[in-house]
Amino acid sequence: MGAVKFTRAACLVSLCLLLGLTESAQAQVDPGPRPGPAGAGGTFPTLNAQETAFFNAVRETFQEVDSVSGGIAGEDGHGLGPTFNANSCAACHAQPDVGGTSPHPRLGQVLRRNPEVDMATLDRQPGQAQTVPSFVQADGPVREARFIRNPDGTKDGGVHGLYTIAGRIDAPGCNLAQPDFATQLANQNVIFRIPTPVFGLGLIENVPDLALQANLQSNHALKESLGIKGRFNTTGNDGTITRFGWKAQNKSLLIFSTEAYNVEQGVSNEGFPNERSAVAGCVFNPTPEDSTHIVNPVTGGDTGTASDMSADGVAFAAFMRLTAPPTPTTSTASELHGKALFGTAPNPGIGCVLCHSDRLTTASSPFTGMGGFTFRPFTDVAIHNMGPGLADFVNQGVAGPDEFRTAPLWGVGQRIFFLHDGRAGPGNGGLLKAILEHQSSDPHCAPGQQFNGDGVACRSEANAVIDRFKGLSASDQQDILNFLRSL
């Protein structure tokens, strides 16, 4: 009897092993975030000594932690709230180093849980903890929440802070309630955005519009045959191309940083000088809370270095502008083959590179070595219709409800969460899911119909390229994944 049992058990184990082995031999998997040192986070390598010193100082400012009025030990920045998502830029821009994106408690370089979870209890009075929204988890992506519509049915699209300063020890008397996310989720009125890494953004900022337009026009016939169009988001002020944010809605790094400072941390500043949710009992500081230092905060004098005298928002922009781009490690046969399949400028492979452009060049620059520099961001900075699968129904600038900027893929090798809302991550296939999510169509669209009733494209511009990806062998798909993890 015992022998029979053993034989059955052994059979079962053998079968499982066989299936397991077969599965691992055939199925392509995201290898996960690349281990080893962070491939980003340092200064642009050719900067001179003064520029490097400035970079190091503004990198410190990027890590500053804000409390409401700067009165809490170890949190001497001020201006937090009335609503906020986190208390420091570097809290969310963390992985694989300062300036990156969402950390994870068990994966990647920094091994830290989602900082948004801690904001519910940090510096709160006993019994005054706020609720961690259900979409924020310790091992999930950092998320900001936007409501699609206002209660009266008009378009909203704005960020609603996860927390308020009510109940914090440094906000006596403030009674501002948290938004009712549970009801908004039940009404399917919430969309999410995750932080984008900021490495190398000074290069993207300094590519001339003409170069971007020429890049978008390149391979025109091939793009057309694959259904790829793309256009640029632009500013209504001077008509130039806007480049930063998930929908390329922000013109410059200064606007990008000052907007985030106001929206994510609630710090009013010279770019966005008015408090959001400025309920009288919850406004504790003169506005703007962050401004150019007329008095040197370190020495008390009226002169100082650029970093001493700059407003935080300017310092954050400078940090982003002067960071080095991520350093790829592409070297193995699999990665090099994956690169060829992904496509390069002269050889488009299966077509990924047609939008994730691998070569852009900056204009002349005041910063040493950053002018005329060719770099590999894997983005065309253009916005594309991604169809109903990715649509978030938020319009920003000229970007419509399903239009997103081609996400730059440099540094993707050490990222943990993907797509604008962080829907792809370690629990569900990671990069592979992110690739497949590029494909979607609206089954209710009639043949030839371009957009559905919500203004969403009936088909994602990426559909044909994803068909090509799906048509690859499992090992070819794996090579592409390996290549991406080498970036």
């Binding site: 890590q63 009165g71 030990a73 170890g74 940090l122 008397g173 009288a280 919850c282 504790f284 500081n285």
Partner: protein, 343 residues
């Protein structure tokens, strides 16, 4: 023709009427008995500690409607906001009186209220506004009172001017009081009662409650200091440093308490948070704060049987500029070394 005549009459009579409505204010030195009674009643109804400044200031506009143009109701409203409001309330009040002044140009009543809304935040401008009021209406006694308050304050003291303004006010209003500015500050947070409760297992976690109440009290005190120019920048910094030193002390007591009642995970979480905050403190900028934080952490690590971390902390303390700030520090450092340095 009669209609035009009527319009002309209205044009002439309106400013006259407005002027007459406030003409009595310049000679009045205190609120009418009825207004005083109603003010007391209204404020008593909202006097509880938990009453928010919004609840109090919402009650006053009803009184203003009942006694339109009564200066003393406005003054009480301003006082409540100055004594209990935060920056947002102060900003709102400033906006209200700026709007009233704009609607009533060259009216000393509204100019006075506007100037008084500036007192304590842009005090020198408040003083110059009072001078403008007196130019428009030399009999506006309360403007002298406000000037006397300003020139008697520690920050803007001018004995000569204070004496002059006081005597002018008392000439117009014999026996009337001149308030002392700034009003007294709330007491600092008090941690003295916490130590004797450490180690008592209490389901209501009174130790945490007391610690956080003390920290909240400190922040409230800072709120009475930060927005006002009654205090110098150095005084504001000093108040913040004192509050932060108490924060380190409060957190230290809490860690000890959680350890004593065997809530080690809570103790450890708070200790980690303290270490994280400590990393962000620049010893060279705030030596006192660095010293409070570093010594607190050193002792907690040693008590928690983390000798390596304690020794590391000791090294940081030795190297810090804070350790070189006087004999007292040297003596304290020697004591720490004898207790915690490696054998």
């Amino acid at each position: 023709m009669p209609a035009r005549f009527c319009s002309v009459l209205i044009l002439i009579a309106w400013p006259l009427r407005v002027g007459l409505a406030h003409a009595g204010e310049r000679t009045r030195c205190e609120a009418d008995a009825e207004v005083r009674r109603e003010l007391e009643k209204t404020l008593a109804a909202t006097a509880a500690d938990h009453a928010t400044v919004e609840q109090i200031t919402e009650a006053l506009p009803a009184l203003r409607d009942r006694f339109p143009g009564d200066l003393f109701i406005h003054l009480r409203y301003q006082d409540v906001i100055n004594e209990r409001g935060v920056q947002g309330h102060l900003d709102r009040m400033f906006g209200e009186y700026l709007a009233l002044k704009t609607q009533h140009p060259d009216d000393p009543f509204h100019l006075y209220l506007f100037g008084r809304a500036l007192e304590g935040r842009m005090t020198l401008r408040a003083a110059s506004t009072m001078e403008e009021v007196l130019e428009l209406d030399p009999g506006f006694a309360l403007a002298h009172r406000t000037l006397a308050e300003i020139y008697s304050s520690a920050r803007f003291r001018d004995r000569e001017k204070a004496r002059t303004e006081r005597s002018r006010f008392q000439e117009a209003c014999p026996g009337a009081m001149i308030p002392v500015q700034p009003p007294p500050l709330p007491r600092p947070g008090n941690l003295s009662g916490v130590e004797r409760l450490i180690g008592r297992d209490d389901p209501e976690d009174r130790v945490a409650e007391l610690v956080y109440r003390a920290l909240l009290q400190d922040e409230w005190r800072l709120q009475r200091i930060r927005p006002f120019d009654w205090y110098t920048v150095e005084r504001k910094k000093q108040a913040a440093r004192e509050a932060q030193a108490r924060q380190w002390k409060g957190w230290t007591l809490l860690v000890r308490h959680y350890r004593a009642i065997r809530q080690d995970s809570k103790a450890q979480a708070l200790l980690l948070e303290m270490q994280d905050r400590f990393r962000r403190i620049h010893g060279d900028r705030e030596p006192d704060l660095f010293w409070s934080a570093a010594t607190a952490l050193l002792e907690l690590c040693a008590e928690g049987r983390q000798p390596d971390t304690a020794r590391e902390m000791l090294k940081q303390i030795e190297k810090s500029p804070a350790a070189k700030t006087g004999h007292k520090r040297s003596a304290q450092l020697a004591k720490l070394k004898s207790r915690y340095a490696a054998p």
